[in-house]
């Protein structure tokens, strides 16, 4: 009997309609845990670099985390991996909610799709019984609506459904996969699902998930819950409320949006709206939000309430989390928050990424204003800001007219449009829209996380190290006094010495080496979370979370029975990190791609930035081009990667 893992994957060949239940290699967990780790291993072995995102040979993998389905609070992630149509690199977007635990209970660790179905289908995984069902009646239906229709069809409210909307069907590059209150939005995985002809995957499970050392794991879970309770009464002092607590950004709870609205250059803007947050807006927005939100809700087995049910008259109910309440509003320059809730409803049904999509929409209108896109492209477009935004959203999702070009995202659209449009695609890293931030002084930690992150996701750009120095020494001392999360005591000193101004401030402090150290720690937590299936909101993302590098080894060991210590776990992290990197290198990722947008910071330091990247690569055991060296790969027992890179002429060894 295996522990934590179900021990089987579902292999579904859509072209032939063939479904197989395949036993997993039990050794893989020891090397790569699960989730992202084992997804990446499968992609590396089975998807050679010639394979295009929309080719039948591309795989679409729905993976559960290694510990998903165990009693570990907040361990509920589904990690979806494929080739991104937008970046042509590995996409590994994830969703919380209820889907992955249900898949484990159904007896599977992953569902691996290959090929393409000629007709639109949905997959019904009912424990051992798995079928591909006709979905022609769901064609064009909203992503939320589809989930409801399937649950009704199967007559079971406990079925968990992951579905795409029209955007996925039309292969819009920012198409998401929606499921309950969660969505996997980044890098266009919904487009790949649509390309494969899968409208939805419904799952129901009734099997046990076993753990190796039950009493010990229970004790560890209780400690996590106890800690969460304590933190509720004791937020981190001296930081803004949004940074003081646990979970994903508590956007559904908090109504004070002064910081977010005024500090991001929303939409496609280059400027911040520095005095946006007036008293009047504050009061109105609070009313609107409290009125729209019927309940705060959670993912599976998590005490935090990051999501909400949103219900407004004249519109069907949906669920929301994180920032999408702001992204459309601010991008459209509409100051009424109700518009945000209403357009997000349509966008959620369409199934699009709430981060990239509003940027693309704002980009379109900037091009129109600049005369780069002529009026002929906007025939029928209303004049008011709200109307304009609904109109362009429809065009993009339907891939109609200019929408067809925009649906590929700002990078590819700008290339196609030409005529100076590229200067307007100014928020991209690795061809993907990033957080619309235009800041003053370069922060070396963020520079590295932005540049080198391969998840292209905001949560990978933040971590357990504070975003900014504390003003006073007392505040710093208070912060480090219970900072058990640091992998090494030296990190406390980095923070104690970090000043807001002067010699020991950004961009030269934290120093290059310190920055690399800090980034490696943040990255490590993200990679481990993505492999065990933990929500970043309870681990790698917030300050002082319940999970960290010191309790992870015991937790993993108690749940799985594998022997595990910090060194061993760090090695696993490095293995996964190198595998994702090698996969992307093989697909053409280069050093030149690892660059934040020109105007991301007003003050740039080209030499320092080169130095940071050099030091980061060196620390990782990569060459100056960001390619893992043979030595590094062999140390991690990955000769299959080094041989492959050698054979392809990517690495040449003396």
């Amino acid at each position: 009997m295996g522990y934590a893992e179900a021990g089987f994957n579902l292999e579904i060949d859509l072209t032939r309609g063939n479904i197989e239940r395949v036993a997993c290699d039990p050794n893989l967990a020891k090397l790569y845990l699960g989730g992202l780790g084992t997804n990446a291993k499968i992609l590396y072995e089975r998807v050679p670099p010639e394979v295009e995102p929309f080719s039948p040979e591309n795989l679409l993998i729905f993976g559960t985390g290694l510990l998903t389905g165990t009693p570990l609070p907040a361990c509920n992630r589904t990690v979806i991996s494929t080739i991104s149509p937008q970046t042509n690199l590995m996409a590994y977007s994830m969703m919380g909610g209820f889907w992955a635990p249900e898949l484990k209970y159904a007896g599977y660790d992953k569902v691996i799709f290959r090929g393409k179905s000629s007709e639109l289908i949905y997959v019904w995984i009912n424990g051992d019984k798995v079928e591909l069902r006709d979905a022609s009646h769901l064609k064009g239906k909203g992503a939320v609506e589809t989930q409801e229709l399937i649950k009704k069809e199967l007559k079971d409210q406990n079925v968990q459904v992951a579905a795409i909307g029209l955007a996925g069907e039309n292969r819009v590059f920012t198409a998401s996969i929606e499921q309950g209150r969660s969505s996997a939005s980044r890098l266009g995985i919904g487009a790949v699902m649509g390309d494969k002809g899968i409208k939805a995957i419904a799952v129901r499970g009734r099997k046990d998930v076993n753990v190796a050392r039950p009493m010990e794991l229970l004790q560890l879970c209780n400690e996590v819950l106890q800690y969460v309770k304590e933190r509720e009464d004791k937020p981190v002092p001296n930081v803004m409320p949004i940074l003081a607590g646990l979970g994903s950004p508590q956007e559904m709870l908090h109504t004070d949006e002064k910081w977010h609205t005024e500090n991001f250059s929303w939409g496609n803007s280059r400027e911040r709206r520095k005095d946006f947050w007036t008293k009047e807006i504050e009061e109105k927005w609070k009313d609107v939000q409290e009125n729209a939100r019927t309940r705060l809700i959670s993912c599976y087995n998590c005490p935090m309430k990051c999501g909400a049910i949103i219900s407004l008259p004249g519109m069907s109910t949906y669920m929301m989390k994180c920032f999408s309440k702001l992204t459309y509003n601010m991008a459209a320059f509409v100051d009424d928050l109700e518009f945000g809730f209403r357009i997000a409803q349509r966008a959620t049904e369409y199934g699009v990424d709430g981060f990239s999509t509003p940027q693309i929409m704002a980009f379109a209108f900037e091009l129109r204003e600049a005369g780069i896109l002529g009026e002929e492209h906007f025939a029928g477009c209303p004049d008011d800001n709200e109307g304009k935004f609904y109109w362009i959203l429809d065009r993009i999702v339907l891939r109609e007219g200019i929408g067809d070009i925009l649906a590929d995202g700002t990078y590819w659209a700008a290339k196609k449009i030409g005529n100076g449009a590229e200067a307007y695609a100014h928020n991209n890293i690795k061809k993907h829209e990033q957080l619309p931030l235009k800041l003053g002084m370069l922060n070396p930690i963020y520079f590295l996380m932005y540049s080198t992150g391969e998840k292209c996701n905001i949560t990978q750009i933040e971590g357990q190290f504070p975003q900014a120095p504390f003003a006073t020494m007392e505040e710093r001392e208070e912060f480090v006094s219970d900072w058990v999360h640091v992998p090494d005591e030296k990190f406390k000193q980095y923070l104690l010495d970090w000043e807001m101004r002067g010699e020991r401030s950004n961009p030269y402090y934290p120093t290059v080496d310190m920055s690399v150290d800090i980034v490696d720690w943040q990255e490590m937590m993200h990679y481990l979370d993505d492999a065990v299936g933990m929500c970043a909101g309870m681990s790698s993302f917030p300050l002082k979370p319940p999970y960290h590098i010191h309790n992870y080894p015991t937790i993993i060991s108690a749940a799985t029975g594998m022997e595990m210590d910090e060194e061993g776990l760090k090695k696993i992290y490095r293995r996964i990190r190198n595998l994702v990197r090698a996969f992307n290198i093989r697909r053409g990722l280069t050093r030149a791609d690892e660059k934040p947008p020109e105007d991301h910071w007003r003050k740039r330091f080209p030499e320092l930035e080169e130095e940071l990247l050099n030091a980061y690569y060196k620390f990782k055991g990569w060459n100056s081009q960001g390619i893992p060296t043979k030595e590094t790969l062999l140390e991690l027992g990955m000769s299959y990667v080094s041989e492959d890179l050698e054979k392809r002429g990517i690495l040449s060894y003396e």
């Binding site: 409210q157 499970g205 039950p214 309940r295 809700i297 309430k305 109910t317």
Partner: protein, 176 residues
């Protein structure tokens, strides 16, 4: 029959506070696993959250008595603007539905308030405080003394034979 004070265990369910995380289901099934906590499977849980998020329905329901036959009528309740079927609020392990049955054997499940714990595990794991626990004393009719039960049983044994009675009791106790 004489009266006596009896401890009544009460779980108070505040549906307004439920965040729908289903931790109660998970930990209940883990507590009742054999060995304790060695596995979990919400399908084995003695509490289930009736969820219909888009209708804002979040209703934790506990497994009660087994019933061999379903009700003749199924009423519907509208509470606070939300419509519930009678089955949503019903605790019975009943032939009309899958709820509260062991997934392998189909045997009925019943909440035992986590016998032996100071409070039920679902309450401990409900950080939203949708589930809270109270104990109160209530006056109750005393249960029949063993002597009386023996008399009754003897009568049954005389009528049906010992083996048949024992088989029946074994079957009943399985249904728990």
């Amino acid at each position: 029959m004489s009266k006596a004070m009896k401890k009544v265990k009460v779980i108070k369910i505040d549906v307004g506070k439920c965040n729908g995380c289903r931790a109660c289901e998970l930990i209940c099934s883990a507590f009742h696993a054999n060995p304790k906590y060695s596995s979990n499977n919400p399908e084995r849980s003695r509490v289930r959250v009736i969820r219909d998020p888009l209708k804002d329905i979040y209703l934790p329901v506990y497994a009660g008595e087994y019933t061999p036959a379903e009700c003749a009528g199924r009423n519907r309740y509208v509470l606070d603007g939300r419509e519930y079927s009678e089955c949503d609020t019903c605790r019975a392990s009943c032939p009309s539905r899958d709820l509260f049955k062991e997934p392998d054997s189909g045997l009925p499940l019943k909440c035992d308030m986590c016998d032996g714990e100071d409070e039920p595990m679902c309450v401990k794991w409900c950080l939203s405080k949708a589930l809270t626990y109270e104990e109160r004393e209530e006056e109750r009719e005393e249960e029949p003394k063993l002597g009386e039960m023996e008399i009754g049983l003897e009568a049954l044994v005389n009528r049906h034979g010992l083996q048949k009675v024992m088989d029946t009791i074994a079957r009943l106790s399985k249904k728990g």
